[in-house]
C-alpha cells in the first residue's frame, strides 16, 4: 500500500470526536505537527475493537509536536517535543495558504 505522508510533511490531526474505540488522544486533536517516521502498517484498531478485520491496513506514523503548541502554558524550553503514534486516517495535510 502507498503511504500518503513522508518524513518532514506538516500534518494536522483531525479535530473529530467519533464514538467508539479511538486511539487518538484528545490533546493532539486539531494540532499541527511534523511526520518524523513511517513506523508501521496496521489494521484499523477502531474496527478491530468491534470484531471486524480492520482492513485495509493503515500506515502508522510518528508525528512530532512542539510541546508549546500542545500546552499554551508549557513550562519547559521551546525545543521540547512530544511524539505520538497516529494512524493515517487521523491526519490531514497542512495546506500552504500562500501566507
Amino acid at each position: 500500500m502507498s503511504a500518503r505522508f513522508a518524513a518532514g510533511d506538516e500534518v494536522r490531526v483531525r479535530r473529530a470526536s467519533p464514538p467508539g474505540h479511538v486511539r487518538t488522544p484528545y490533546y493532539i486533536r486539531g494540532k499541527e505537527g511534523v511526520v518524523s517516521r513511517l513506523i508501521a502498517e496496521h489494521p484499523n484498531p477502531e474496527e478491530l475493537a468491534y470484531g471486524r478485520d480492520g482492513l485495509p491496513v493503515l500506515p502508522v506514523y510518528w508525528v512530532r509536536f512542539r510541546q508549546s503548541d500542545l500546552w499554551p502554558d508549557y513550562q519547559g524550553p521551546e525545543g521540547d517535543t512530544a511524539e505520538v503514534d497516529i494512524q493515517e486516517h487521523w491526519l490531514e495535510p497542512v495546506e500552504d495558504d500562500g501566507g
Binding site: A40, P77, D80, V84
Partner: protein, 212 residues
C-alpha cells in the same frame, strides 16, 4: 479497613492490613473470572496452562532488554538493526520478544526520550518485565506528557535546558523501549558488565545511567 488491633507484647495499635478481597469487585473482574472458567470448562486450556502462563509473564525481568542495550553499545551494526526492528534484533540473540512489534528510541546528547502510554499502559514487558505500578498510574500518564521535566525531576533526573525532552506516547500497536546513552568510563567493560548497568527505569527513560 479502619479496624485496628494490638499485639500482646506491643502496646501501639496499628491499622489492619487490608486483604485483596477488601477492595471493590468490578464488572471486569467478574467478567475475567467468568471467561476464564468458561474457557477451562470448554477445554480450550487447562487451569495449569493458565497458571503457567501467568508464571512466565510474572517472571519477565529487564535483563533481556539490558543485554540488548549492552550489545548495541558494543556493536554499531547491531544497534542500527535494533533501532529498525527490536524483535528481529532480539531473535539474533535468541531472546523471545513476543509477537507485538517493539521499537527502540535512542537517547543522545541532544535528545532525552521518555516513554508513556497516555491511553492505557502499553509496555514492552517481554524485554523489560512487568511495568511498575507508577507507569500505569493516571498521575504518571497525565503528567509526564504535560510537564515531563517536573516529573523527571521527581525521579531525580534533571535534564539541562539545552537538551530536548521528547515524550513518546505509544497509542498504537507498537511498544517502545529507550536505548540509553552509554555512560562515560565504561570503555573497557564487556557485554555482561555493561548489561549490569542498564536498569528498567533508564529503558523507560525516567532516569539516565550515572556512574558518579
Amino acid at each position: 479497613m479502619s479496624e485496628t488491633h494490638s499485639h500482646d507484647d506491643w502496646p501501639y495499635p496499628h491499622p489492619k492490613q487490608p486483604d485483596i478481597e477488601d477492595g471493590p469487585i468490578t464488572d471486569l473482574m467478574i467478567m475475567t473470572e467468568a471467561v476464564t472458567e468458561l474457557m477451562i470448562d470448554k477445554a480450550y486450556f487447562t487451569a495449569d496452562d493458565m497458571r503457567r502462563t501467568l508464571e512466565v509473564i510474572d517472571a519477565k525481568t529487564p535483563a533481556e532488554g539490558a543485554r540488548m542495550v549492552a550489545r548495541a553499545w558494543l556493536d554499531e551494526d547491531f544497534k542500527a538493526r535494533m533501532l529498525e526492528d527490536v524483535n528481529a534484533a532480539a531473535e539474533e540473540m535468541s531472546i523471545d520478544s513476543g509477537v507485538i512489534p517493539i521499537r527502540a528510541i535512542e537517547n543522545t546528547k541532544d535528545v532525552h526520550n521518555v516513554i508513556v502510554c497516555t491511553l492505557c499502559s502499553c509496555y514492552p514487558k517481554h524485554l523489560i518485565g512487568l511495568p511498575p505500578d507508577w507507569y500505569k498510574s493516571r498521575a504518571y500518564r497525565s503528567r509526564v506528557i504535560r510537564e515531563p521535566r517536573a516529573v523527571l525531576k521527581e525521579f531525580g533526573t534533571e535534564i539541562p535546558d539545552g537538551v530536548e525532552v521528547r515524550v513518546h506516547d505509544s497509542t498504537a500497536e507498537l511498544r517502545y523501549m529507550i536505548l540509553p546513552m552509554r555512560p562515560k568510563g565504561t570503555g573497557d567493560m564487556d557485554e555482561d558488565t555493561l548489561a549490569g548497568l542498564v536498569t528498567r527505569d533508564c529503558m523507560i527513560g525516567v532516569t539516565i545511567i550515572d556512574r558518579d
